[in-house]
Symmetry: C2
Subunit: 340 residues, 2 copies
DNA sequence: CTGAAAGCGCTAACAT
DNA sequence: ATGTTAGCGCTTTCAG
């Protein structure tokens, strides 16, 4: 059904020369006569000749396709990272195939094998929420397919990563809460096995220590990052005899969910509860009050992940690298209060 | 650098049979001896043999890749449509390559040619905001590559589309505004050439007519759909001597922007101004007050678009189809007011 | 029942 | 300076 596109053979027979001559002329091989080269190039232009990537791929054993797996497509965080990846890879002549793991390990595994079967030239991944095994990524490594993780990472000893300094950001927010009068600071976070969860929790604890607040076990809640489990967590917190007066979310989405609950309870933000999140979603400045959040350099995260992949593809020796990018704490109304 | 994957040749030489025998056995060709078939299949399994899609593609002149072009990845509307497309195509054994036109015609054209060069087997598109020419899509048709538009469409005579009934939804919101006391209903919309803009405007006008309100020219504002131009539009509306008391946005994003401006002016929603949008983004229930919006069956839009593509790929005759899906008006606090 | 060979589009080593 | 050929991995006649 699809119309056949013009091939080297077509051009060659039209000009009465050999296929290889056309092939060489098109890449300015010095051996080919200048005049002939010109003629061939003109015809190729006219006929709108584009090399068949399938044929090239078969020959070179590469598809020029990079796989990208994200937990979810619908958040600004991931989609702007993807756009960073795209910007970098496109100008290097690569295509990207995006898959969403929908925050599940099963889907993630499926995506990895699917992409591997497609013979991708590289894979960029942000782990799913419950991704707690690494066999599928081992497989990627076994096939010598370049692999890069960003944000949520694993196998750090062997695989290159692009991350931010979660520890210091979580610490900064915690002390910022304190400076704004909070004395009972809670933290809703995600599954324990995720690096970002561990690091942000560590920062939270460091922050508490720095301002001399005790760590209260019931103020630290692990969720599965779903809206429902975040809502449950916040309800539990609000029902505590000693209700917290500040809440740090492991991301903005968790906080958006929390805001609904908090308002439903008739509590005021920031008067009753200071709020801050991570990743500075677009809607942080749409919700009321505007949400304090850690802005990740999303576009740069994407670009850097892409660069790491390209490096690994081009250079033989795959040296493991870890790139730590700077974030910015955007302080907004949700965390600002008269000091007590 | 990448490790060679096992091929038919590998399997054949390991078993001392011909490549073609292995090939046939793997697809249960009746000619091949049952025992041999079994043996070959077992080995293939063991060696983890996966047919090389590049070789298959070259042979069959197809990539099993479907291109998808959306104006923007970061909105729930598009990402959930994509997930619908993915669900349908994946189980049909197709991969999807997503590109973002970033709402510009230039990028859209670039994406189309890029994907065409990749030799995609089909293309699913939602037009960019300023996509007002069709040469690049003509090219797709020229190459006999199946094409489907959704939501924002063009070339409707020749190309299959998946849309919603924008006219009646816009009319319904307009009369709903009226029922809630609004008498000066404004509409911020997009570029005139877009079908959704024309249709929603038509519905708005029909709604006004139905309730007997006159059409005021200054209440209908065309923007380029950017946050900035929406903000400018709302500021102009608010500064009108006869400030509107209801506002219909061509989408939720426009309304989110408007909400910031309205609040900055010290006006109350819904007391001073009723609000409603299109597409029912996730954040419609996060903003304060919750936003009334038309919920599109996003997942279904995606699935249907994918199905149309598959149909066109499978059947020879590419009959043009238009699928109109039902929407639901989600009425929330932003448009509810005591009647005057 | 199984093997050999051609060909999908392209490149590169090897002729001429 | 240009042509010939082999081969990337696979399917599919055509032979045996």
């Amino acid at each position: 059904m699809k119309k056949k596109r013009v091939t080297l053979k077509d051009l060659a027979s039209e000009l009465g020369v050999a296929i290889s001559t056309v092939s060489r002329a098109l890449k300015d091989h010095p051996d080919i006569d200048k005049v002939l080269t010109k003629k061939i190039k003109t015809l190729a232009q006219q006929r709108n000749y584009i090399p068949n990537p399938l044929a090239m791929g078969l020959l070179r054993q590469q598809t020029r396709v990079i796989g990208v797996i994200v937990p979810d497509l619908a958040t600004y965080f991931f989609s702007s990272i993807i756009s960073g990846i795209e910007d970098e890879l496109q100008q290097a002549g690569y295509y990207i195939v995006i898959s969403s793991s929908k925050e599940t390990l099963e889907k993630e595994i499926e995506c990895v094998y699917n992409l591997l079967n497609l013979r991708i030239d590289g894979l960029i991944v942000c782990l799913a929420q419950n991704s707690n095994q690494t066999d599928h990524f081992r497989k990627v490594l076994d096939h010598d397919v370049p692999l890069v993780f960003f944000d949520r990472v694993c196998l750090e000893k062997e695989v290159s990563t692009v991350v931010v300094d979660n520890v210091s950001m979580a610490k900064d927010i915690t002390t910022h809460f304190f400076a704004n009068g909070a004395r009972k600071i809670a933290h809703i976070t995600g599954p324990k096995h995720l690096n970002i969860v561990q690091e942000r929790t560590e920062g939270y604890l460091k922050g508490l220590a720095e301002v001399g607040l005790p760590f209260e076990k019931e103020y630290l809640i692990h969720t599965d990052l779903s809206t429902e489990s975040a809502a449950l967590a916040i309800r539990n917190l609000l029902n505590l005899p000693q209700r917290p007066d500040a809440l740090l979310g492991v991301n903005d989405t968790v906080i958006f969910g929390a805001m609904k609950e908090i308002k439903q309870c008739g509590l005021a933000i920031p008067d009753d509860l200071l709020l801050a999140g991570f990743s500075d979603e677009f809607h942080a400045t749409v919700v009321e009050p505007n949400l304090t959040s850690v802005a990740h350099p999303t576009h740069d995260i994407g670009r850097n992940a892409a660069k790491l992949i390209l490096e690994q593809i081009e250079e033989e020796k795959a040296i493991q690298k870890k790139i730590v990018l700077n974030t910015a704490l955007h302080i907004r109304a949700s965390s600002l209060r008269q000091k007590k």
